[in-house]
């Protein structure tokens, strides 16, 4: 069995750390210790693998998107082949279940009796509620009031799964505020409660913990690409809000320097408009929700409200490892606007018969320009793989309003 490497000190270059109240330090130490002790065991590994195979439906397929590739680049001059890693086919409809099941399994072994989570699009909330139902644990999900409104189907799903959804009315009433409220709950109930963070963000050990649970995406993709094409892709592409699906995908290829990594942020109404969530593109280094990373804040250090049509990307922070990958130039980060994402969603639906989540649609919006860039460097058409992180059913209301 592959040995789980030690967690490290929680720093990715100069990013990460633990910027939290003293009250939470012990819980973070305890979690770090539990990760080291439990995740390294063959029993934990076997239990998680079994859940992923028999409950989540892993490995997820790798689909070649031939019609989409030709729609983007009709003559095949820049885009040779395009593959989709089908996280939308995971149980609950997105990659979030990989992490939620892992964390809830870990929490049960740590003796925690209550789970809390924050959610933006509701996918992580649904995934956590699902894992809690499976393990018989009470679950409370904090969700910004604005997101409760625009992701109504997921609110209903969480309730049906037995979770309590707590609408958060402070601030911008989106993911950032939900996370503030979840942190307040955790600091109050830290003895009994595990805080299941959904993104590769937060204080150490969360960014590493979430990246490890999501790296199944990249590991599978790498093996599937080798099996299907006999080689690695030229580039891997994923959307980035907090960045959990992207870090999961990137972990599979980060050691292969020939594979370019692209993260796509939400440009909202356009980065120049100020109404966006493009933290790595337009933010500055700061501290939010427990770690040092790029954040959207003004020159006085006050956190700014993000904007994106996609609730899952509507967050003014980003996981610290992405900040490191950006500064070290290992990964490139670009952004797509609301309108570009909507157009991409329509195109993917009509060419491939797959309705992607609005989050994922941001990644699709940039496949064409990334292919041009990579092909120019390689002087041949490029093969790309996109992490299709989730399905678009939850976005029907927005999609119908904007596209029909």
């Amino acid at each position: 069995m592959q040995q789980t490497p030690p967690l490290g000190a929680g720093w990715y270059g100069g990013y990460g750390g633990r910027y939290v109240s003293e009250t939470l330090i012990h819980a973070l130490d305890e979690l770090t210790e539990a990760v080291g002790r439990l995740m390294a065991t063959a029993q934990f590994d076997a239990e998680l693998k079994s859940l992923l195979a028999n409950y989540v439906g892993r490995p997820t397929p790798l689909t070649e998107a031939k019609r989409l590739a030709r729609a983007i680049d009709p003559e095949g001059k820049t885009l040779a082949r395009l593959f989709l890693k089908r996280e939308d086919l995971c149980h609950t409809g997105a990659h979030k279940i990989n992490n939620a099941l892992g964390q809830v399994l870990l929490a049960t072994k740590m003796g925690k009796t209550r789970i809390i989570a924050e959610t933006g699009a509701g996918q992580h909330g649904v995934a956590t509620a699902t894992a809690c139902a499976l393990f018989g644990l009470p679950c409370e999900v904090y969700m910004g009031e604005e997101d409760v409104r625009r992701q109504a189907p997921n609110v209903g799903r969480m309730k049906l799964l037995g979770a309590k959804v707590i609408p958060v009315q402070s601030g911008s009433r989106t993911l950032k505020d939900a996370m503030n409220e979840a942190l307040r709950d955790w600091v109050t109930n830290v003895g009994t409660t595990h805080y299941c963070i959904g993104s590769a963000a937060g204080p150490h050990p969360y960014p590493e913990l979430v990246a490890r649970f999501q790296s199944v995406i990249g590991d599978e993709t790498r093996a599937q690409m080798l099996q299907r094409t006999g080689k690695l892709p030229d580039a891997a592409v994923a959307c980035v809000g907090g960045g959990s699906n992207a870090i999961g995908m990137f972990r599979g290829f980060v050691a292969d320097s020939a594979v370019k990594l692209y993260g796509i942020e939400a440009a909202g109404h356009g980065v120049a408009s100020g109404k966006h969530a493009a933290t790595l593109t337009a933010g500055r280094v700061g501290v939010l929700h427990g770690s040092k990373s790029y954040v959207l804040c003004d020159e006085h250090g006050q956190i700014q409200e993000a904007h994106s049509i996609s609730a899952g990307l509507d967050y003014p922070g980003v996981g610290p490892e992405h900040s490191f990958l950006k500064d070290s130039l290992r990964a490139s980060y670009v952004s797509a606007t609301d309108d570009e994402a909507l157009a991409a969603a329509a195109m993917v639906a009509r060419t491939e018969g797959i309705l992607p989540a609005l989050e994922t649609s941001h990644a699709f919006a940039k496949v064409g320009s990334i292919a041009v860039e990579v092909a120019a460097q390689l002087e041949r058409p490029a093969t790309l793989v996109v992490c299709l992180s989730g399905r678009g059913d939850k976005d029907l209301e927005t999609l119908l309003e904007r596209l029909l």
Partner: protein
């Protein structure tokens, strides 16, 4: 010896200005709530009514350690142009009117974005004596601590009920090399603004006394102290108390500058008399 050490030493002997009690009273208010000039007057009112140390709160957009009262005050202050610069202006104006020690209290991002070195220079010039940064635990605080110490400023460490002995030992170690005029003991799990149960506050006082034994530093209890009675219970074994939300609520309820000042004076006086 810094200004805070002096005041706390005098207070322990019952010789500090404002009253004959031997327990320290640290008061918090959010700068810019209701407005900058009002905060200056209210901070001076706290000092005159018997506060030994003034915590000047710097409003932050995402106050995750605070309950509704201080979160609302922060929002009001930010709408009124509050932030690091306004808080430093309040500090400077308060310093011009009284010699009570000032602790700049807040969250790390506004401080980090300004740059620690620049921040320390600005704070020292404004007459600030120490920083208390809620989300900057001791491990991440060493660079700020080093820069602050060079200008004679302190960074106040926090201890929580969940802190294990090794954390307190670490604070004791740090206190050997850096100014630590007092330690802040968080009485309970949770956010600011709760009402601490008598047994919880009494136990917090006992724990604070243990922290004092290990660190050889005065240790005050904060969180959940909303009345003179609660202050008395918490301070029985500790060196003093911090009161924040109870004062912030008086400011929120006041309908005029006079009404706010008089309500703040009244509660600070009550607290002082109980200590």
């Amino acid at each position: 010896m810094g200004r805070i050490d002096d005041v706390l030493a005098k207070r322990a002997k019952g010789e500090a200005p404002g009253g004959a009690g031997t327990k320290a009273l640290v008061t918090y208010l959010c700068c810019g709530d209701p407005d900058e000039a009002g905060s200056v007057d209210l901070a001076v009112a706290c000092a005159e009514a018997g506060a030994d140390v003034l915590e000047l709160g710097m409003p932050f957009s995402d106050p995750t350690a605070d309950g509704p009262a201080i979160a609302r005050a922060s929002q009001r202050a930010l709408r009124n142009g509050g932030g690091l610069d306004a808080t430093l202006r309040v500090a400077r104006a308060v310093r011009a009117r009284c010699s009570t020690p000032i602790v700049l209290f807040g969250y790390y991002n506004p401080l980090f974005v300004r740059g620690e070195e620049k921040l320390v220079a600005l704070a020292a010039d404004a007459g600030v004596d120490a920083f208390l940064v809620v989300d900057l635990p001791i491990d991440e605080s060493m660079s700020l601590r080093t820069l602050a110490a060079a200008r004679g400023l302190a960074v106040i460490p926090l201890v929580a009920p969940t802190s294990r002995p090794d954390r307190i030992t670490k604070i004791a170690e740090v206190a050997k090399s850096f100014p630590v005029p007092f330690v802040y003991y968080v009485s309970m799990m949770g956010v600011t603004g709760g009402a601490g149960a008598t047994d919880v506050l009494a136990e917090a006082g006992k724990q604070a006394a243990r922290v004092r034994e290990v660190t050889s530093r005065p240790t005050v209890v904060g969180f959940g102290i909303d009345s003179a009675r609660a202050a008395k219970v918490a301070a029985a074994d500790a060196d003093g108390v911090v009161v924040g939300s109870a004062i912030v609520r008086r400011i929120e309820e006041g309908t005029s500058p006079e009404a706010r000042a008089s309500a703040v004076r009244a509660i600070v006086k009550e607290l002082r008399d109980a200590l």
